[in-house]
């Protein structure tokens, strides 16, 4: 392990230094705005560039934000390309170039755990087509038939003559060939790169500070901007007095941004941000300023029993079923607003002239950033270039281009001067796209045998789509609200209940909602999995056995759940004095489950000791990165469960930094054991689904340990302390 690591480290360093990776390309090596791939006219095809030194550059359209998609996508191209993995580097083609080439790289959006599962087919085909062209080029040199040639690790051999040529030697020839009309992909049984725990392509530069993020951009003549937008959504800028700020050292200007923000531009960001505090701003806070947390909760409470026609899943007759039940179980749960709190605050750097606009930014959606920048620039898409940077966290926040547009609007007021806009943490906390607030009332009916025959799950609360994507509503229904509770698809319900009703009382607020890693599966898995645990106890049944009875039609869900339970020692937990809780769900196309183990100390404080998590993503591209995502999911999911929440006072979010919006630290991190169990035949995501089972598994374990049902997130408001 040691030796190979050292070797690959030095190789990676070489690839970085020689410019074979894209890390350096997108940060201003081509400040003219010339698109990256224009410099590689010898590309074999859109996905693959091979240099004479044998370095292989794989083009990646989706964004890397820590989730490992970059490496996974490169593995998929490399699998079919048959190149030497040790020679692989990468680069981001720009969205402008994608547009110019009829979207040859297709969708740039990176969210919904779709990076790999949505593009596996065409990226593999890209690698396979390049391989066929490289072989054809070699065969032509030998006047041989391509089918008489083979390739291994980038070396093409002619069987009859024993001659060999490398990819680097024939790449220029291959670039001139027409692409094959048909490509055949390998059978999964033939994979040698997909499914392997390859080390990430982007690790080394993250170990010595050399990785540049958007907030690290430094261009010649660049100025820095700090911004303050109206702290209540829907409000506007009324006026501002910048006299004091303008006199402060380094300040170059104080400008209005759109209709709701003020920015200070200075030589350094520290000075800009300091001067921003000296700007006297008058806001029109708007109607939202009348709303407080208690009233939002009241609205949600009203929705728990109100009439609604927004139905997500329905079977049998739930009303009659509940009326005829031997035993009725009822519980109400809640889930708060949450900020994504990416470690790197929002930022973008823009340089605007009348003829062209360049933007350097971290974004989960290069094409959305491109469109947002163009609109702000007042220029056609062809005259705007976006250089994507690696993200210091995304989690759904960086799919929106609001901060990109702001940077352009500021730069427009300083033509020809690059402006780097960086949000303070406080700005980042207030100007989020928040995890929607919801509550749920769940009512279940048990028959004489203790089987769950009827279930009504009512969600009351905010709709993401109504807030930011109203065109995606279907007859007024936001089906994303019902993630993991739907009758079929990538977010299907785990259980078969004869009489079922899952519905939604939409109760929106002025707080801007957004897609927060795991999205609506986070609350929904609590509502379903904690209730199932309550129902099992009401029925006097073991929670695992109780679920099994409801999962006859969900063999893959049962497989992950039983695998997690078995590894955790569920069957012997009582004999061993262990307190455990279970959760399972089907989300983002994958089947995931968790078994959490919680202990109670002498003073009654609880500790989450261990989690066993099982994941079936269908095909697993990189098991060690899948494990990393599963481990990380417990940090993100349990941070929300234990202490995360954003609350509203006078229309404004109360939490402005990590002192009031804590995130899990080492002392509370349980030991996570991951079982990756790909069953094949489908492609599921891994970045998000496990987050949803983190909280309910722990809540159910807390009940096992303490007898207390905690139904409101975060649990810091309960009488349970964390050890």
């Amino acid at each position: 392990m040691n030796t190979s690591t050292t070797m690959s480290l030095s190789r990676r360093k070489f690839l970085v230094a020689s410019g074979a990776t894209g890390a350096g390309l997108a940060i201003g090596v081509y400040p003219s705005g010339k698109a990256v791939a224009d410099n590689h006219l010898d590309e074999v095809n859109a996905w693959v560039v091979i240099n004479p030194d044998e370095s292989v550059v794989i083009r990646i359209a989706r964004s890397e934000m820590g989730q490992g998609t970059l490496t996974g996508l490169a593995q998929m191209v490399a699998e079919e390309l048959e190149c030497d993995w040790d020679n692989v580097g990468w680069e981001y083609p720009t969205p402008r170039e994608n547009l110019a080439r009829d979207r040859v790289w297709k969708n740039y959006a990176t969210g919904g755990s779709r990076g790999i599962r949505e593009s596996h087919q065409y990226v593999r085909e890209g690698g396979a087509a390049a391989r066929m062209m490289l072989i054809e080029a070699a065969a032509a040199r030998w006047s041989a038939a391509p089918e008489d040639c083979s390739v291994s690790k980038g070396v093409i051999s002619h069987k009859a003559s024993g001659k060999t040529l490398t990819y680097g030697q024939v790449a220029a020839d291959a670039a001139k060939l027409a692409p094959p009309l048909e490509v055949k992909l390998k059978d999964p049984s033939e994979w040698t790169v997909i499914g392997q725990p390859k080390m990430r392509l982007d690790t080394v530069s993250k170990l010595d500070g050399s990785q540049l993020y958007g907030s690290d951009i430094n261009l010649p003549g660049m100025l820095n901007a700090a911004i303050k937008a109206v702290p209540v959504f829907g409000g506007k800028l009324k006026s501002f007095d910048a006299d004091a700020a303008n006199k402060m050292p380094g300040v170059k200007g104080v400008v209005q941004v759109g209709n709701n923000a003020v920015a200070v531009v200075a030589d350094t960001w520290w000075r800009a941000n300091k001067a921003l505090k000296a700007v006297d701003i008058e806001w029109d806070l708007g109607d939202g300023a009348r709303l407080n947390q208690a009233e939002i909760v009241e609205r949600l409470d009203e929705g728990l029993t109100a009439d609604t026609k927004l139905v997500g899943n329905q079977a049998g007759d739930v009303k009659a079923g509940l009326e005829g039940a031997s035993k009725v179980v009822e519980a109400t749960y809640s889930y708060p607003f949450l900020n994504h709190a990416c470690m790197e605050p929002m930022n973008a750097t823009a340089k605007w002239t009348e003829d062209f606009c360049e933007v350097w930014c971290p974004t989960q959606n290069g094409e959305a950033a491109h469109a947002g920048a163009a609109e702000a620039a007042g220029l056609p898409l062809e005259k705007v270039e976006v250089y994507k940077q690696l993200l210091g966290g995304g989690f759904g926040r960086r799919g929106a281009p609001d901060y990109v547009a702001q940077a352009v609007l500021i730069a427009k007021q300083f033509p020809g001067t690059p402006i780097k806009l960086l949000w303070s943490r406080e700005e980042d906390m207030l100007q989020g796209f928040f995890h929607p607030i919801t509550k749920a009332r769940v009512v279940g009916g048990l028959n004489d045998d203790g089987d769950l025959e009827s279930l009504h799950l009512r969600i009351s609360g905010q709709s993401i789509l109504a807030g930011i994507l109203p065109q995606a509503l279907q007859n007024g229904v936001d089906f994303a609200t019902f993630q993991a509770l739907l009758p079929e698809g990538d977010h299907s319900i785990s259980y078969s209940v004869p009489n079922l009703l899952v519905d939604h009382a939409m109760r929106n607020t002025h707080i801007r909602p957004g897609f927060w890693r795991g999205v609506n599966v986070n609350p929904n898995a609590i509502y379903m999995e904690c209730f199932i645990d309550e129902a099992a106890h009401a029925a006097g049944k073991d929670p695992l056995a109780f679920r099994r009875g409801l999962m006859q039609d969900n063999p893959l869900g049962w497989a992950v759940l039983s695998a997690a339970a078995e590894r955790a020692g569920w069957a012997d937990r009582e004999a061993n004095g262990k307190h455990m809780g279970l959760a399972v769900c089907h989300a983002f196309g994958s089947y995931v489950a968790a078994c959490a183990e919680v202990s109670v100390n002498d003073s009654g404080a609880i500790k989450i000791d261990r989690i066993v998590a099982a994941t079936d993503p269908g095909y697993c591209v990189n098991p060690q990165q899948t494990e990393a995502q599963v481990e990380g999911s417990f940090v993100y999911g349990l941070s929300a469960l234990l202490y995360g929440e954003c609350t509203v006072t006078d229309g404004k979010i109360d939490q402005e930094n990590f002192d009031t919006f804590p995130s899990m630290r080492m002392a509370h991190m349980p030991e996570v054991e991951t079982i990756v169990m790909p069953s094949g035949g489908f492609w599921g995501g891994v970045g998000e689904p496990t987050i949803a089972v983190a909280a309910p598994a722990v809540l159910n374990a807390i009940f096992a340990a303490t007898g207390k049902r905690l139904r409101d997130v975060p649990i810091k408001h309960s009488d349970i302390d964390l050890a």
């Binding site: 690591t5 050292t6 480290l9 360093k13 934000m65 820590g66 989730q67 080390m199 990430r200 982007d202 690790t203 080394v204 993250k206 170990l207 010595d208 500070g209 990785q211 540049l212 993020y213 907030s215 690290d216 430094n218 350094t268 960001w269 520290w270 000075r271 994504h340 709190a341 990416c342 470690m343 790197e344 605050p345 690696l390 993200l391 210091g392 966290g393 995304g394 989690f395 960086l422 943490r425 060690q624 990165q625 990393a628 481990e631 990380g632 417990f634 940090v635 993100y636 941070s639 930094n657 990590f658 002192d659 995130s663 899990m664 630290r665 080492m666 002392a667 991190m669 030991e671 996570v672």
Partner: protein, 159 residues
């Protein structure tokens, strides 16, 4: 102009007296490996060493640092990514987005200088950095692995 000793070199830099060390490093010294995450010493992304001690540079006024004090940033931890913590981090593929990792690495290296074989409790106490991607489990393993690498290295030196 003030003199600061950064990564073994004395440099003369001009900054306002209240400027935190973080911003002097990032905006005057051009060392952007040290990150801004919160500005209130909560997240640890800005961790550097001053005379071997881990310091949250976002709240540490640069003007309070004497020219003789040695500041080390992630760029100066080793010349070739060979510090035991960097080696361990590479071996275990610790970073995800990586934005917090400079601070994690600096906190870990300071811990190992003080406690060569840290227990989990030592790690919990010393490593209070925030990572939103959730690398905490691999960070813990990384610290233990770095301790092993460091121990092997020092055995090699004494042999």
């Amino acid at each position: 102009m003030s003199k600061l000793n950064i990564n073994g070199e004395t440099v003369e830099l001009e900054f306002d007296p209240d400027t935190p060390l973080l911003w002097v490093l990032r905006e005057q010294a051009g060392l952007t490996g040290t990150k801004y995450g919160c500005g209130i010493a909560q997240c640890g992304a800005c961790t550097v060493h001053i005379d071997g001690q881990p310091v949250r540079s976002c709240v540490y006024p640069a003007s309070a640092i004497q020219p003789a004090q040695k500041i080390v940033t992630v760029e100066g931890l080793s010349e070739d990514i060979s510090h035991p913590v960097q080696q361990a981090w590479a071996e275990l593929d610790v970073p995800q987005c990586g934005f917090c990792q400079s601070g994690m690495i600096m906190a870990a290296s300071a811990l190992l200088d003080r406690v060569p074989q840290p227990t989990d409790e030592d790690i919990n106490a010393a490593m209070t950095n925030i990572c939103r991607c959730g690398t905490l489990q691999r960070v813990r393993r990384g610290v233990h692995r770095a301790a092993e690498i460091k121990a092997q290295g020092s055995q090699g030196e004494s042999a």
